[in-house]
Symmetry: C2
């Protein structure tokens, strides 16, 4: 069938996932590979092209609506250029042009927070919700803002950086160079930092046991496992992550009055107390009339990146073809 | 001429202004009166009706597109209801219905931050700008968000409360009951509080002289006058107001990527160093690629309330008539 599939690519610092995705979001074929390290941007482009070739083998080009690529980068969506990328050597690389010159399909690139929002909107927790804020908690804090049923891109296509709201003026430095941003409190490095301190204070904490007695071996996953099992130190750490998330969201709820907040990313999805605490802060601190905002956990899990990037490709195809 | 005019009403805690406004924004007639105090909501409705009758005398009803009312209140725009109002007894009052039953014109009500944004968009500093954030600094901090050429209202019509973003977690209490909100640092009460402290420290400050040596007589206007003249204490106070505004705006710039920020309200318009300092913070702290946001001072000044409310009435009329 014509344009029955889109190809979604989720390019991360350690892993690339490529999926052949049906219009309704089902991933029918998928390949995952390690992100080529230390061999420059062209090795990443090669890997993407190889992955796409593999999952499209046997299909006619007319069956493919297009390719969507989600990148952990600041994207000028209007120009389709990669402006900044912390973990991969992609800044200034014409990723879209390079991939498109090697494949027969239209290519669209976007920030991975935006593709996550697109995916949840089309296939996940935000289906049917026109005004929502997506926030992803992982290595960093990212997200996307839906307004009137559309991803809000802003004047240069940079919108959606929810992790970079100031919630503590003159607070700790953020990886972006700013200070006191939400990301400094609610992403993986903050979880690990706080958990090390908490494990010192609560000597019997299962965080220490799960890390084999080695503070350097503490990961966010360990802290979340301990918190979900009720470990006091871990609960304290993850509650704080949720509270700080909530403080950032109070501002967005007051400014944007969204219908829902979707909490995703590895941390958001595997640790329910994070979104619960955030919802509690919103209920206590947001202006009345806005407190009924629904705080939901993202539904796409590990598929979010691939499905969201495919949604991007479908959306781009449909707007080219004038389909709404 | 049919629908040549709209009536704009700016209802404040101390004053009501009503204007007969042409499509291009010129105010051709205006009346100002003191807000009736202590005699309940119906006296306010009476005052509004009297003011409208006065400025429309001699006109044919068909010449009036409608009445717009800006209120210092939380408005559920969708239901056209007043949900909360700190300074006037209007909460729960069907202001729109009461005024409409006494006048022959369609009536629309909105929050005064939103009407300010509408006014600047149609007649002022934001003309031709599709994505901007309006922030008004006065008794409180209010505002409005324009996205894609339209005022963003959110799921229940409550959007735009820029003053109620958390910028200091667990910071000082805000009049709304929240903590560490932008309003706690950049509105009139903060100016006065900080100026009293600064006048203590800088004994020779002209703040003290302008206030006749009486700390209780210090007003925001005095502090701004002193700051604009270069008084060290006053400059420190107003710079801080601008810096804190900038910290709040960094978050909005990163999340919404607007083309411009319009700074209005009595404080924003009369003290240029406030928007200058805010722009400096944005340039230093926002994510690269978004720092070129223009920070502009509102242009409508004392006319903002009336002209903006008239813009609301024109917009409402045009959308009823299917005019775009």
């Amino acid at each position: 069938m014509r344009n029955a599939y889109a190809i979604g690519l989720d390019v991360g610092g350690t892993r690339i996932a490529a999926g052949l995705v049906e219009r309704k979001g089902r991933i029918v074929r998928e390949v995952k590979l390690s992100t080529p390290k230390g061999s420059g941007p062209f090795a990443i482009v090669d890997a993407i092209v190889d992955a796409v070739s593999e999952i499209t083998s046997g299909l006619h080009p007319s069956e493919i609506a297009g390719v969507g690529i989600g990148l952990p980068a600041q994207i000028d969506f209007t120009r389709q250029s990669v402006e900044f990328c912390t973990n991969l050597p992609l800044a200034g690389i014409d990723m879209r042009g390079l991939v498109m010159s090697r494949l027969k399909y239209p290519v669209t690139i976007d920030n991975d927070g935006n593709t996550a929002a697109l995916g949840e909107s089309r296939y996940g927790a935000a289906k049917g919700i026109k005004d929502f804020v997506m926030v992803t908690l992982g290595t960093g804090v990212g997200g996307g803002v839906f307004i009137g049923g559309k991803l809000h891109r802003g004047s240069r296509g940079f919108a959606g950086e929810i992790g970079h709201m100031v919630i503590v003026v003159d607070g700790p430095e953020c990886p972006c160079g700013g200070h006191g941003h939400l990301e400094s409190f609610s992403a993986r490095p903050a979880v690990i930092r706080e958990a090390r301190a908490a494990a010192e204070t609560y000597r019997g904490s299962s965080i220490t046991r799960l890390a084999g007695g080695d503070a350097d071996a503490i990961t966010a996953e360990i802290v979340i496992e301990a918190a979900n099992a009720g470990d006091e130190a871990a609960v304290e750490v993850m509650s704080r992550v949720g509270d700080m998330l909530g403080e950032g969201l109070v501002g967005l709820v007051n400014v944007l009055n969204p219908e829902a907040i979707i909490v995703g990313g590895g941390i958001g999805e595997s640790c329910p107390m994070v979104s619960k605490r955030a919802a509690g802060r919103i209920a206590a601190e947001a202006l009345a009339g806005r407190r009924d905002v629904r705080v939901l956990i993202a539904e796409l899990g590990n598929d979010a990146g691939v499905a969201g990037a495919a949604a991007l490709a479908f959306d781009d195809h449909d707007s080219r073809e004038g389909i709404h």
